[in-house]
Amino acid sequence: MTTTAVRLRASPRRLSVPHRTGALAQLLRTKPLGAIGAAIILVLLIAAIGAPWLAPYPYDVGVAGVRLQGPSLAHPFGTDANGRDLLSRIIWGARVSVTIGFGAVAISTVLAICVGVLCGYFGGWFDLLVQRVVDVWISFPALVLLVSLVAILGPGLFSTTLILGILLAPGTSRVVRSAVLGMRHLPYVESARCAGAGHIRIIRACVLPNVSATIIVLATIQLGAAILAESTLSFLGYGVPPPYPTWGAMLSGTGRAFMLQSPWLSVWPGLAISAAVFGFNMLGDALRDILDPRLGRGS
């Protein structure tokens, strides 16, 4: 019954979608922070996809004469210790961050939904056993898992993505599980069960739609977390190896060594990371407000 009520309430909103400009203006008016976040992410995605065309210089070849230059017309963000253009490296860095972010979150979300929904829904001994595996997984200091797996799999884009995905999953699975746990005994789920619906049908029709908002929001926010984690790893020296330009590595290597004489070296990558994480978080918050019908205004 609750589901139908929710659908009824959501339908007028869905009908208004064809007025695209109207919806956009409404988003801008009611969720300015979310709109800012979306704009930041749009810029990030454009940079990541269009890096080969947008970057004015190659990211890995420097010019000997222009080491450690401040911002100028030729190099708006300055150059690093190898004479490489910082703007180009930031743009290419966006591609690394976005690839790892989306890849890791895709892995973590799929894993987390499987584990979280099954545990929360079935409960009992199954839940108790699986949660102990999640316990091991969650209580594992991330760093050791990370360093070991990087050493075993070999450093690279793929291994970093996989490892971050695995590391992010237990957190989401816990949140999904507790959300499902809370709704397991709600009247509409029990009435569906009484009506003879099977487990798969109940999970698909009653449980998943009610956690989907949570999952979408968590995934958006985890994109930020993944980008932040990736940069922390690169900073510690366990991230994606050169020649890939990553924001975290830019902060740790030359950025740290030359922080005093050329502060922009550490300012731009730091700002890029902060902006990306901020954007995903703001978009996630706005999505949460919009997607969850229970949070709708005036209801």
């Binding site: 091991v136 760093l143 070991s148 816990r174 900073f235 922080m259």
Partner: protein, 315 residues
Amino acid sequence: MSRYLARRLVLLVPTLLGVSIVVFVLVRLLPGDATTLMLQDARATAADEQALRHRLGIDQPIHVQYVTWLGGLARGDLGTSFKSHTPVRDELAARIPVTAELGVLAMLISTLIAIPVGVISAVRQDTWPDYVSRSAAIGLLAIPGFWLGTLVVTLPSVWWQWTPPLRYTPLLDNPVRNLTQDLVPAVILGLGLAGGLMRLIRTQMLEVLRQDFVRTAAAKGLAERAVVMRHALKNALIPAVTVLGLQVSLLVSGTVVLESIFVLPGMGRYLLEAVQARDYPAVQALNLLFALVIVVANLIVDVLYGWIDPRVRYV
């Protein structure tokens, strides 16, 4: 309830055993071992290397090593560090207070920021106070802790010729000096944690504020403050408690980074050093300890969960 608690306590044992086995295997899968690093400078032969491996006990099959280590653990012996040749227990005893203090301070700071900001931005949803407090909290979350840490360590030395002291002062020796040393990394760590907690409190508050019992409370004439604090916040905090458990593992990772930057002699930095030196006993002990902290925190969370929310049924 007490049956549930007893069962969970019993279940801690397999969890910790699981962690210890995974760590035991992983750390040995790392390329190289302690001997490669210890014999780096000397003109060591393969025979020397073998002798050293034998002395350290890492020439035995892995299951034998594990049983030996477990036997030691049962007697309260965590082994001897490969690097410093002192008992790991003594090494840990000196470092636990440093990390514990940093962690507790950071947790406190993050909660103190997160609850008021989360409540205000939920009650005043989509108004300026909401926008400002939220962008501030998320902005602070978005700034990488290692970057902020490096800036804080480096810039004052340029501007005011002030460098953070390299010697660590324990809390009991000189509380004031200790706090000035720990406060900055704790604030950086706490700010990073506050954003996530704040958001969760906000979304839960939004959900709770639209429920019937809140409308009833408001309708019977209660002040907004009472409705928000006594009726709404209490219910909104339930899921936030779950996140508190997850925060502990974030905290562990955070201490590793910040202790390295701020040169604090804590467990996080020790872990990084131990992994690099392939100091197996130290890595194993540290991981077990971290895992114990996280597991116990999660157990407390699960128990609190039922205590705060009687609707959750323990089975």
